[in-house]
Symmetry: C2
Subunit: 255 residues, 2 copies
DNA sequence: CAGTGTAGTTGATGGAAATCAAGAAGTCCT
DNA sequence: AGGACTTCTTGATTTCCATCAACTACACTG
């Protein structure tokens, strides 16, 4: 199957309203690649030649400094990443690593930049995508700086609930140690955070979590539309807005 | 003087390579406005009708949650802000407040969006600007999550030095309490951080700081091009990349 | 000039989270 | 089934930072 034939690619917000011509030119030289788990796709500081589109699996974006490491976000399909670096033809500020086996479409950065210059519709779509990514990061920073660990975690669970349609059961999409990294805490403290939330009706059983006293949990978490993105199907905390696009997929972008 | 006649506006990266026609259409209905100090220009959650261009004074972008407040960045001329919200025609995620008396150019959001759709060159320039803003936030998050208070502060001083051309004296551009907020700490702890840095040759005298033992300070700070933006004249930590634009001004953007 | 207010510093204390250490439960392998 | 490995949890300790409180220096004001 050629990349241009993959419907989820065509359905990406960055191709919304874009002509078939431009779409083919952009994706014409793209190729689909499979990666095993724990593969580094891109190291921070590397030049970026491709826009990555995650079609299957999970990818972690991380930054390091002085042998410390932090997880910026975890992507799930369908998401694009390192768009900003592609647009500027700059070096990556974050590393990208597969968590699972992944299926990834790689689109030539040159093709992106060239077609932006020639097609205003496409350029606008990219600008909107970037705006969403930017706002996702603003949310992340507010979440980080304004909330304590337990509050962040409570909001994470509520966001997860909202995205899965709103029952009282929620399924954790990552291992707990990965989740801890995502929330910016140690696995130990995530464990303790779960324990604390027990007092608010949260019952954990492996990856299955029941939110027993929603009201109590919400009073603790105080979810805020200007921090938490309850928009339809956006994958995670650090994700792009889905405010504008009501199309059918998840979104992201980075570096 | 009409907005279109202000050279610093025309020199903004978002107008680089843009035709005079588009430039006039975008800025034609813009107007210049003066604000006193401590004026809230925009409250988080508000719809955003204008792109703001800061020509004089300082503006703080902040976020709040549950009567806590955090400073996301402090802007200095010439900077644009809330570009992302304008592009998406969305509500602001941060509040904007003047710190000084300010002179601000307000450009119609509609005009921006419409001209993006009609002029690919302009749309590309906006996309590049957004990419720079995005990368600025990535840097901010890495700085936040990977470094402790003293390390952040040391790097702040070094960045300041680099931007002022590199002598051993540095002038703090903000009051210390504002600086503390910017670095995400309390004024008390900034004071203590300065005291600690005394051991690394840092001598403070009001707003004047001497970096006596650069080598020592650098060994502590470990500046990193993937976090700190030493690029020419970019104003502050949280600022956009200046990697691509070598034109003559400072850059920013937000929300 | 006294009087008020704000910025900045310094010290003492408390709380949140990282770290260190150990143990429990589960998975994969042969 | 046994053994090695990993994840997750729990407890004890340390580190970092916020908070509270007191005090200094300086500017502005009547």
């Amino acid at each position: 199957m050629r990349p241009t034939d993959i419907p989820k690619v065509r359905a990406l917000p960055m191709f919304a309203n874009v002509s078939g011509d431009t779409f083919s030119r952009v994706t014409g030289s793209a190729y689909l690649q499979r990666f095993p788990a724990n593969t580094t796709l891109l190291l921070e500081g590397d030049p970026v030649d491709f826009l990555y589109v995650l079609l299957e699996g999970q990818v972690e974006l991380q930054g390091t400094w002085k042998d410390k490491e932090t997880t910026l976000t975890i992507l799930r399909p369908v998401s694009t990443f390192i768009l900003a670096a592609v647009v500027l033809d700059a070096d990556a500020l974050m590393s990208a690593r597969t968590l699972d086996r992944c299926e990834i479409l790689m689109i030539s950065g040159d093709a992106i930049r060239q077609n932006m210059a020639e097609d205003a519709v496409f350029a606008v779509a990219i600008a909107r995508e970037l705006s969403g990514c930017y706002r996702g990061l603003v949310r992340t920073i507010k979440n980080q700086k304004l909330r304590g660990g337990v509050e962040q975690h409570a909001n994470y669970l509520l966001t997860l609930r909202a995205k899965s349609g709103g029952g009282d059961k929620v399924h954790l999409p990552h291992e707990k140690r990965v989740l801890a990294a995502l929330l910016g805490m140690t696995p130990e403290n995530l464990s303790r955070a779960f324990a604390t939330l027990g007092g608010y009706g949260v019952e954990v059983n492996g990856a299955e979590v029941r939110l027993g006293k929603l009201r109590d949990l919400e009073r603790l978490a105080r979810p805020d539309p200007l921090i938490d993105n309850y928009a339809p199907r956006a994958p995670l905390l650090a994700e792009a807005d889905a405010e504008v696009w009501s199309t059918e997929h998840q979104r992201t972008g980075a570096a």
